[in-house]
Symmetry: C2
Subunit: 458 residues, 2 copies
C-alpha cells in the first residue's frame, strides 16, 4: 500500500493526538497515512451531552477524511490497527470495512502497511478494577456508540418504570448510579439529575421522574481530584443542590443485575446529599449503572515490545519516542509522560500538544536535525455541573457557577471541529437553556446481543 | 392497567395516524392510552435524508410522550403490542423496555391492556416479493434504525473501496442498487448520486467517488407511478442528469452476497441513462442494495380475526370500523380503504386524516351519535430528486425543478413536528445547499449480528 518514495508516516488513531499530528505534517515532503477504526473524529469533552440527549452524534463528530480533505499528503484508512511489528516497521490491519456483511469466502485478506515513522495515538478505555465482567452491566463513555447505548439505557429505565406495577421495582428502575467522580462522572450525574427533575417532568403519568435517585460514587476522598479544593467543594455543592447523592470514599465491590455493592475506603470524608439522604451503606438497587472510573491504555501498546506501566501505557522518552525505537512516537492517553514528578493526565490538551510535537520531531528527523523534548503547557481545567453551573481553573484563575459555565461554553464552542458544528451546538444549547428540553431523547439501536454482555477486547 | 371509569381508548401506533387520533381526543371525557414500540414519532417523509447523512435522527423524530405531554388524558406506553383479543377487548404487550438487559428470572411478566375502543395504526413494512431472505442483503427504509443501517452500509462501501486493491472488486463496492421506483427509491437514488458526485469528491485518495454507479430498478413501466406523466418524465430526466442509471420494466429475481439479478417485465419502455450507459442486462454486481419496493401490512392485523387483503390490510367499513367489530378502527397503512374505485395509497396524509376521523367517530359513539363515513381529500403529491430538484402535483397544479423543490421544502418544514426541529432542519438544509456537504456522515452502530441476517418479523 505504498505508491511514492517520500518518507511514509503512519498515524494510528484519529483522536486529538493523531489528528493534530496529521495536521502538523501538512505541506511537508512526507506521505502520511492515518488509520482509525471509526470514520469520525470525536469531540470527546462533549460526549456526555450525547449520552444525556442534549446533542446529536453529528454535533460532536466529523468525518476524519472530511477534516483532512484538503491536506493532499494524507490518506485516511478506516481500519482497526491490530498490531505493530517494530522489526519489520509494519502494521497489520483488521477486517475490511464491509466484512461484517460478507460471506466468509469474500472477506478481505489481511492487509499490512509499512512505515518509516509511526505515531501511536490509540488512546485508552475504561478499566473495571480487574472485573471485566462488569462492563456489560455498567457501560463506560468513550465512543459515540457508548454514548448512544447510555442514552438508550437511561431512557428505557424511565419507560420501564412507567409500565411497572410494583413500587419497589419502580424505585430500582428509577435509580441511576454513576461510578467515578472525575469530570465525566460529575457531568453525567449533573445531566441525569436535570433530566429527571426538569426535562421529563410533564411526560409521564404513572411515575414522577423527579423522584429518580442519581447517586455518584467515588472511591477517593474527593470529586474532581485534579481541581483545587475550593472548586471541588463548589462542584459538590452544585451537584447536591440539583439532587445528586454524592458518595465519596466509597469503592464499588460488585456490579450485578440488580445494582451495585460498595464499601467505605475513606469513611471520614463521606458526604451524602440531595433530596433522598437515606443512602443504604453497602448496597444500592439500581437498573442503570454507568462507569466513569479507571483507565486502561489501548492494547496496541503491547505489540511495541517495550515495558508498560500499570495501566498499559508506554513510558516515553522526553522526545515522545518509544525507548529503543526512535522511529515510533506515542502521544495522548497511551503515552505515560512524566513531567515535574507526575505523569501527565489523560486529557485532550495533552494529546493535542503531544501530537503536534511528535510531528515536529518527525520533520526534524527527516531533515537530520536534533529532536526536541516535549513540555506540556497547562492552560487549565474545567467541568460542568448541569445547567449554568461549572468549575474552571484557568491559568490560576478560579471560577465557579454561571461565570465558569460561560467560560466553559465559550471555550468548547470555539474548540469544536468545524464551523458548522459550532453553530448547531450553540443553537441547541441556547434552546435547551431556555426550555429545559433535551431534543434528542430517542431510543435507537438494536437491543444488546449476547456479545454485548461480554467485556470489550481486553 | 385501568384507573378511572371514563371510556378507555387504546391506540396502537404513534405514527401519523395514531398521533392524530390521540390529538383529536384531547379535552374529551375519555382515557386514552397510546402504545408504540418506539419512544418517538418519526417524520417518515424525511427519513431518506437520515439514511443519506443530511439530517440527524433527532431532526426528524420527537419523543411521543413529549409531543403529548400537555394532553392530560393520554398515557403513553413504550411497548410492542403483540396481539388483540377482540372477544375480551384486550391487547397483549410484549417484553418490558429493559428486558434486554435483564436476567430471564427478572423479565417483565406478560402485561395486558383492556379497551373500550381500539384504534389500530400499526402501519406497514416492506415486502420482498415472497423472498424474506433478501431482507438481510437489501435493507428497507421504514424506521430510524433502518436509516442508520443504510447510512452505515453506504459509507462503509466507500471506505472498503478505498482499501481495496482489486479494480473489479472496487467497482462492485462502488455500485449501489436501489430497488423500487416510488418516491422513496427516487429520493434515495438522487441523494446517493449527489453524495458520490459532490459530497465526497475531495475525501478519498485511492478512489474517485464520482465514478460510483447508482442504479434504480423499477418493475413497472414508470418511476413515480402515482404522478402524472409529465412529472414522471421530469423526475427521470433529473435523475439521469445527476448520473443515476434508471432501469424501468425490470424485476429483481435474486439478491445475493455479490449483487442483484433481474429480468425484463416491460421491455419496450426500458430506459438507460447516466454516465455509464452499459447496464448489463440480467446482472449487476453491487455491494449495497437498498429496498424501496413492495408493502406488507403490520402482522397485528391477523389477530383481529377478519379477512385481510393480498398485502395483509383490513378492508375497513366506510366509517373506518373493522367489519363486525364496531369498537375497533383501523387507520393508515394497515387500512385498505376503497374510494372512487381504488384503494387509497399508503401516504402520511391518508393516515393523518383517517386518524382524526376515527377519533371523531369514537367521540360520536360515546355520545350515542351516528358515525360518519370517511372521505379522503387529496391535497397533492411530491417527491424530491436531489439538490434543488423536485416534482409536485398539488391540487392539479404541476411543477418540477427548483420551483417544486421550494414548494416541497416549504411544506415539509411547516409540517415537521415541533418548532425546534423546523429551525434545525432548515439550517441544515441551507448549509447543505450552499456547501454540498452532508454533515452527519458517521458510521455508528454495532455490526450486524447473526440475527440481522434473518428476515424481520413475518
Amino acid at each position: 500500500m505504498r505508491s511514492d518514495s517520500r518518507p511514509h508516516v503512519v498515524i494510528i488513531g484519529g483522536g486529538f493526538g493523531g489528528l493534530d499530528a496529521a495536521r502538523s505534517l501538512a505541506d511537508q515532503p512526507l506521505s502520511v497515512t492515518l488509520v482509525d477504526r471509526h470514520n469520525y473524529h470525536l469531540f470527546q469533552p462533549l460526549l456526555y451531552q450525547v449520552a444525556t440527549a442534549s446533542l446529536s452524534p453529528g454535533d460532536i463528530a466529523s468525518p476524519i477524511r472530511w477534516i483532512l480533505r484538503r491536506q493532499s499528503n494524507v490518506k485516511v484508512l478506516l481500519a482497526d490497527a491490530q498490531s505493530v511489528d517494530p522489526q519489520a516497521r509494519r502494521i497489520t490491519l483488521g477486517p475490511g470495512p464491509v466484512d461484517d456483511y460478507e460471506a466468509p469466502e469474500h472477506r478481505t485478506p489481511s492487509q499490512t502497511v509499512d512505515y518509516d515513522y509511526l505515531v501511536v495515538a490509540t488512546g485508552a478505555a475504561h478499566a473495571y478494577f480487574g472485573h471485566p465482567e462488569w462492563a456489560g452491566r455498567a457501560p463506560g463513555l468513550k465512543t459515540l456508540d457508548d454514548a448512544l447505548e447510555i442514552r438508550r439505557r437511561v431512557l428505557l429505565a424511565f419507560e420501564a418504570a412507567e409500565r411497572e406495577p410494583d413500587a419497589i421495582e419502580q424505585r430500582r428502575l428509577l435509580t441511576f448510579v454513576i461510578v467515578g467522580g472525575g469530570p465525566t462522572g460529575v457531568e453525567l450525574a449533573g445531566a441525569l439529575a436535570e433530566i429527571a427533575r426538569r426535562t421529563l417532568r410533564q411526560d409521564f403519568r404513572a411515575i414522577k421522574p423527579e423522584s429518580a435517585r442519581v447517586v455518584l460514587i467515588e472511591g477517593g476522598p474527593h470529586l474532581l481530584a485534579a481541581f483545587p479544593e475550593s472548586l471541588r467543594a463548589a462542584a459538590r455543592a452544585s451537584l447536591i443542590a440539583i439532587g445528586v447523592e454524592v458518595l465519596t470514599g466509597s469503592v464499588v465491590t460488585a456490579v450485578d443485575d440488580r445494582g451495585v455493592s460498595w464499601q467505605s475506603s475513606v469513611p471520614s470524608d463521606r458526604v451524602t446529599g440531595g433530596a433522598a439522604p437515606s443512602v443504604t451503606p453497602g448496597r444500592i438497587d439500581a437498573q442503570t449503572v454507568l462507569w466513569a472510573a479507571g483507565v486502561a491504555a489501548s492494547p496496541l501498546a503491547r505489540s511495541l515490545g517495550v515495558p508498560l506501566d500499570r495501566v498499559g501505557r508506554v513510558a516515553a522518552e522526553p522526545t515522545l519516542q518509544v525507548p529503543g525505537r526512535p522511529e515510533i512516537f506515542v502521544v495522548g492517553d497511551i503515552c505515560a509522560f512524566e513531567q515535574d514528578g507526575a505523569v501527565l493526565p489523560g486529557v485532550a490538551q495533552v494529546a493535542k500538544q503531544q501530537g503536534a510535537h511528535a510531528a515536529r520531531n518527525i520533520i526534524a528527523a527527516t531533515r537530520g536535525q536534533p529532536l526536541r523534548r516535549f513540555r506540556y503547557r497547562d492552560y487549565g481545567n474545567m467541568a460542568t455541573v448541569g445547567r449554568g453551573a461549572a468549575v474552571a481553573d484557568i491559568g490560576g484563575v478560579r471560577a465557579s457557577g454561571v461565570t465558569a459555565w460561560f467560560i466553559w461554553l465559550f471555550i468548547h464552542i470555539f474548540w469544536l471541529i468545524g464551523f458548522r458544528n459550532r453553530v448547531a451546538v450553540l443553537s441547541e444549547w441556547a434552546w435547551a437553556y431556555v426550555t429545559f428540553q433535551r431534543r434528542v431523547r430517542l431510543i435507537t439501536g438494536p437491543p444488546p446481543g449476547p456479545s454485548d454482555r461480554q467485556p470489550p477486547h481486553p
